[in-house]
């Protein structure tokens, strides 16, 4: 069964296959829907809500919402940009994001989203929470100051690496990524080659001894906003 579904995003007609999400169909059509917890190859999580779109007037997460014939999707509207902007700002004040010495800076998806949205400073008060760093593993560390609770490491370790090294514990402001061991990261079977180490959008899970490998000016988001690869793929078609 491969009937094609058609619907619109901001008035533009988009076609999709049944079972695709709105985000997958938008990507294929060269329309970028901002996202943070979604990652290609991992089951969608629907938790960050950065990808919020309006579907027939109702807010939905584009990364989890399946396409349906004739739906009217709004993406690039003032209202949605404001909602997404607020979410990104809240993520910044909720953690401790010291971009100036973070090895991920320039390649960080949270920072790149803030750049794309032109955020000079969050309007919310900084919370300066106390968060733990685990540097016990010989090759990898986790700095929870930077964690945005996207769950990518949890899903990658469980579903791709088959290890279940990471899991969330606690709720609300106490929610954090824990490791599947009595003690620390060093006591897990996490390896540098694991998918879970590669997928963190921010600098929370990093390989040791990599440092600032790419010079400023040549990093992923130094010149081009996040999402421009998706948009450019469309303009070349």
């Amino acid at each position: 069964m491969s009937e094609t579904i058609t619907f619109t995003i901001d008035g533009k007609e988009v076609s999709a296959q049944p079972g695709q999400t709105i985000m997958q169909a938008a990507d294929a059509a060269g329309i970028y829907i901002p996202r943070l917890c979604a990652f290609e190859g991992l089951v969608p999580h629907g938790s960050c809500r950065v990808c919020t779109v309006m579907v027939n007037g109702r807010a939905q997460a584009a990364c989890t919402q399946p396409v349906a014939d004739g739906i009217v999707v709004e993406n690039d509207t003032e209202k949605l940009l404001a909602i997404r902007r607020d979410i990104i700002e809240m993520l910044f004040v909720e953690g401790n994001h010291y971009c100036m010495f973070c090895e991920k800076s320039g390649n960080c998806e949270l920072q790149a989203l803030a750049y794309r949205f032109g955020i000079a400073a969050p309007k919310y008060p900084y919370l300066f929470p106390k968060r733990e760093i685990d540097a016990t593993h010989p090759d990898i560390f986790i700095d929870r100051n930077r964690c945005v609770l996207c769950g990518r490491c949890v899903r990658a370790s469980r579903d791709v690496d088959g290890k279940g090294v990471f899991e969330f514990v606690g709720r609300g402001p106490q929610k954090r990524v824990a490791v599947n061991a009595e003690a620390n990261l060093a006591d897990t079977d996490l390896k540098t080659s694991d998918k879970a180490v590669e997928v963190c959008p921010v600098g929370a899970i990093l390989r040791k001894r990599v440092g600032y490998a790419v010079p400023v000016g040549r990093r992923r988001y130094d010149h081009k906003p996040i999402g421009s690869d998706i948009e450019q793929a469309a303009s070349k078609k």
Binding site: N96, C99, M100, G118, A120, Y126, F128, K130, R131
Partner: protein, 181 residues
């Protein structure tokens, strides 16, 4: 046309943002055509002598003196700009915000591995401004009109923003000029 008055200060910062301002290279000649500096470490004028159009604030507030200076700037400047990550979010000094002040002082003056302090005293002279319980971003102390993030913001960022403000144009910085590092 009378030149616009500009004041600058470094609160709890490292002077890197002021260095970045000097990094505008030969545009500094255009800048002196455009503005007169009032209170600023650049000319060492210590107190305001007149009202200023623009105040550039480097650094956040880590002590009572920072707060006094910042309020003084708000009083004397039409437009106040947080320059750099320290002014904007506290920056590196704000790393102490998750540690009680007493522990910070003990580490710095008593327990740190390189400390030599036979008297065991923690500096407490009335001349030394009292530390605040934590480091505050400037906009949590006074109203701030613009933020130029970066550690430091590039010379181009500072130049573009200043020129736009002083020539009554909107401050619309291109993608490459808003950076957090």
């Amino acid at each position: 046309m009378a030149k616009a008055k500009v004041a600058t200060t470094s609160l709890c910062g490292c002077f890197g943002c002021h260095m970045s301002l000097l990094d505008i290279d030969d545009r500094i000649l255009k800048l002196v055509e455009l503005v007169d500096f009032n209170k600023s470490p650049i000319n060492d004028i210590k107190e305001f002598t007149e009202r200023c159009t623009v105040g550039l604030i480097e650094g956040g507030c880590c002590n009572e003196e920072n707060v006094r200076v910042l309020r003084d700037f708000r009083k004397h400047c039409d437009i106040l700009i947080s320059v750099g990550d320290c002014a904007t979010m506290g920056g590196i000094p704000a790393m102490r915000n998750t540690i009680p002040l007493k522990e910070c002082l003990d580490e710095a003056y008593l327990n740190g591995p390189t400390v030599h302090n036979p008297s065991g005293q923690i500096p407490n002279d009335p001349e030394i401004p009292l530390l605040l319980n934590r480091v505050y971003p400037c906009h949590e102390v006074v109203k701030i009109d613009y933020h130029l993030p970066g550690c430091p913001p590039s010379a181009d960022t500072l130049w573009e923003a200043l020129v736009a403000l002083l020539t009554d144009k909107p401050v619309a910085l291109p993608y490459e000029l808003i950076k957090y590092d």
